[in-house]
């Protein structure tokens, strides 16, 4: 093992999704840790892990109940996001782990946390980790007890990295947690919610005007809720629009508890597929969307980029706001080349691998997590432009965009913004988008 493992799209497609080589399966090897993997190798290391996500409830605070090691990086998150005053820690020692005695301290800790806040929190999110997963702690019960004692809603957030590939991974579970405080309300037909992200969609997203043109006057996202009252008003929604499959479980819970149905869209970069989705969405909500101007703008942005910068050859990473395989397919479909993709192949995106194989059989597929990535040599790559923060790590000298901003790109506006950002990067400007 002295070179990075890769497989061509053609070879991978020929093997099929049931014969993915072990080098691409994280469960089959040690997981390599490099700056390229930081965001997704750990559910809380960077970006919106469970800790920041749990604080999406306006006015809430978080009490992390765990060994000190689990809370260590929270200092950095707080520093970056001005959240430090909302994080508190109840640290477990060896005896706690053996006896479970820390559980009896949680109600008093919640009370002390609330008492120490200048403004009483709307809720206390209790974040627990692998330790309580293994101990089998009934945290729902502990939270009820703490809530009764401290007089504040207390909600568990499960940061169980051990269950990352299970039925309810941490980022799926935490989405259910943050909407769990919504209580039944009378429905308002002109109101809906967007679920999926912990930060808002880009302001220029066509979803807002298109939904308003269909008579939907109130569109709520948890990250745009100014206070707890506005958050609670999310319960009046006529339907939920799910834009990230990790929110599917939360949407199902809201349907069961509050009777709010949901519609799901995927984030795509192929404009014809975006159009299809909007047509289907229109059918679901009983409206016909005029998406032509937005589509035209997106396709014009692609054309402008191609005219000015030619048929670039891309490396596409997975630390970005896209499915790397779908984005690569979109690039190839628009006449560009993709020499390599750093991504995690699974059942949901194997369909893109097959399509890439048909159009660009030699595209190489790497796994960021493979131990062999220690030996990745960017000089052997044919790419001249990179997309994704991880891809930028592998090719530090090449122009590119991280495309992992917190404001979420979606639909045509996402496509337009991506090509504008790429154009800026190739023009030597630092991307401001």
């Amino acid at each position: 093992m002295n070179q990075a493992y890769s497989i061509s799209a053609a070879e991978l497609a020929a093997r099929g999704k049931d014969d993915i080589p072990p080098e691409l399966l994280s469960s089959a090897h040690l997981i390599y840790s490099s700056p390229a993997t930081l965001a997704f190798n750990s559910p809380g290391a960077q970006g919106f892990g469970v800790k920041r996500a749990g604080l999406a409830v306006p006015g809430s605070v978080m009490l992390l109940v765990a060994p000190a090691c689990c809370g260590r990086n929270t200092a950095a998150l707080g520093c970056e996001a001005a959240l430090s005053e909302r994080f508190f820690y109840l640290m477990q020692d060896d005896t706690d782990i053996v006896t479970g005695r820390h559980l009896s301290r949680i109600p008093e800790a919640v009370k002390q946390v609330c008492d120490s806040c200048v403004k009483r929190p709307s809720a206390v999110m209790i974040c627990i980790t692998c330790v309580d997963a293994l101990l089998g702690t009934d945290m729902e019960r502990v939270c009820r007890k703490a809530s009764d004692y401290a007089g504040v809603p207390v909600v568990p957030c499960y940061m169980y990295a051990l269950t990352r590939e299970g039925r309810l991974p941490p980022m799926v579970s935490v989405r259910r947690s943050v909407y769990s405080l919504l209580q039944p309300r009378e429905k308002v037909p002109t109101s809906m919610n967007i679920l999926g992200f912990f930060s808002p969609l880009r302001d220029d997203s066509e979803l807002y005007p298109m939904l308003k043109s269909a008579g939907i006057h109130t569109i709520r996202e948890i990250s745009r809720c100014a206070d707890f009252a506005e958050y609670q008003a999310m319960a009046e929604a006529n339907f939920n629009l799910v834009l990230n499959q990790e929110a599917r479980h939360a949407a199902a819970d809201l349907r069961k508890r509050l009777g709010i149905p949901s519609v799901e869209l995927a984030r795509l970069y192929r404009t014809d597929k975006i159009a299809n989705q909007y047509r289907l969405l229109g059918q679901a909500v009983g409206a016909e969307f005029d998406d032509a101007p937005y589509r035209e703008k997106a396709e014009q942005a692609i054309e402008n980029f191609r005219t000015k910068h030619g048929r670039r050859t891309f490396a596409v990473g997975e630390w970005l706001n896209a499915d790397p395989f779908e984005l690569a397919l979109a690039l190839i479909g628009n006449g560009f080349s993709v020499s390599e993709i750093f991504g995690t192949v699974g059942g949901s995106n194997f369909v893109y691998v097959k399509k890439i194989a048909a159009l660009s059989p030699d595209t190489k597929i790497y796994s960021n997590l493979s131990p062999t990535m220690m030996f990745y040599d960017g000089k052997l790559s044919a790419c001249d432009t990179v997309i994704g923060r991880d891809a930028m790590y592998y090719h530090p000298g090449l122009p590119g965009v991280p495309w992992n901003e917190e404001r979420q790109p979606f639909g045509y506006a996402g496509v337009t913004a991506l090509f504008a950002a790429l154009a800026d990067a190739l023009s030597g400007k630092e991307s401001a988008r």
Binding site: I31, C69, C70, F88, I97, L134
Partner: protein, 353 residues
């Protein structure tokens, strides 16, 4: 409530200390976790990780691995990653998960060595202790594993034990410590883990003396003395310039120094050198070796105790990581001289304002 942090965030844990100690020695480091601990260690506690490629891995444990204790799978993955890699040894670092399921690290070491044919170091860290405990265990294991031969003492050669970015807030600490010792007349300085690599460790019995610059290095120094008769001295030959610049004012005031014990002691020694009647106390959140404590020195064991000690101590000046200010009342009358401690705040010297 001692275990509750309302103002500060947790300090670097033992597993980070173990990785920091072993980072530069050319081994494969496998953290026995589900992924989160590795992200924390690399992304927050190991600043060198961002500057160079390293062989740090997560075991990627999943619930069934923990429930069934599948050590054989871990070792098989370790072997696969080691094969043909050119790495000199493997190290397996504990976290809360193996602590809970009572992983037998000695057995893991034997299994790893048998499978890979190379030395293996295991450190049974638990994630519940501070970084210095894990670093101390790792240093000790490293020297026990690789310093196996008694070699002739090389005159003018000195070893430095206990240096890491967690203890000294600069990536250049190895060079700075070495330069200070060279200035004293030492011809060759082996600053283990920050400049001096595995060959120097193998040759550690040949140094004339070891200088222990943090409590984390003390156990290894004692081992080397016991095994090879190498004497050691506890002191810290380098301090940041801006701390040294503050010494004249500190020498005439009541001062509290909070850092890792040996760096804090060095600040005190420098103050006392200017004025032997100065009133200086040393405290630390971390290991406090009794033989190097003075009467009023104390260990801080909780946020509450820290606030109590610092607000009622009557200090004029406090030398500490300025991030600790977050826990203090706004009307505190003393002045803080910022001496970053990476294990506390994740800050390096270049962040001092």
């Amino acid at each position: 409530m001692k275990s509750l942090l309302k103002h500060l965030s947790p300090f670097a844990p033992d597993q980070s200390g173990a990785v920091s100690a072993l980072f530069e020695f050319g081994g494969l480091i496998a953290i026995c976790d589900a992924g989160g601990c590795t992200g924390n260690i690399c992304g927050f506690d190991e600043p060198r990780w961002f500057t160079r490629r390293s062989a740090i891995f997560s075991a990627g444990l999943r619930d069934m691995d923990a429930i069934l204790g599948r050590d054989d799978r871990l070792v098989a993955k370790l072997k696969a990653a080691m094969d043909g890699s050119g790495l000199a040894f493997s190290a397996i670092i504990g976290t809360p998960v193996p602590a809970i399921i009572a992983t037998d690290f000695k057995a893991l070491k034997r299994m790893a060595e048998k499978q890979t044919g190379l030395p293996s170091i295991t450190v049974a860290t638990t994630g519940t202790r501070h970084y210095d405990v894990g670093a101390s265990d790792a240093w000790l294991e490293l020297f026990k594993t690789f310093t196996t031969e008694r070699r002739p003492v090389e005159s003018g050669t000195v070893g430095v034990l206990g240096a890491s970015p967690l203890d000294f807030p600069t990536l250049d600490a190895g060079n700075l410590l070495s330069a200070a010792l060279e200035k004293e007349g030492w011809k060759t300085v082996n600053c283990y883990g920050m400049g001096a690599g595995l060959d120097a460790v193998k040759n550690a019995s040949a140094v004339e003396k070891n200088i222990v610059v943090s409590p984390a290095g003390l156990a290894a120094a004692k081992y080397l003395k016991m095994a090879f008769g190498t004497p050691y001295e506890v002191r810290c030959p380098w301090l940041p310039k801006h701390v040294l610049a503050a010494l004249p004012s500190l020498a005439v005031k009541k001062t509290l120094v909070i850092h890792q014990q040996f760096a804090a002691n060095a600040v005190r020694d420098a103050i006392l050198k200017r004025n032997e009647n100065s009133n200086v106390t040393v405290a630390s959140w971390f290991m406090m070796e009794p033989e190097f404590m003075r009467e009023d020195d104390f260990r801080i064991d909780s946020e509450e105790a820290f606030i109590e000690a610092i607000t009622n101590g009557g200090y004029d000046e406090v030398v500490c990581d300025s991030r600790l200010r977050a826990a203090l009342p706004r009307d505190c009358s003393f002045n803080i001289i910022d001496f970053p401690h990476f294990a506390v705040s994740g800050r390096l010297l270049d962040e001092v304002k």
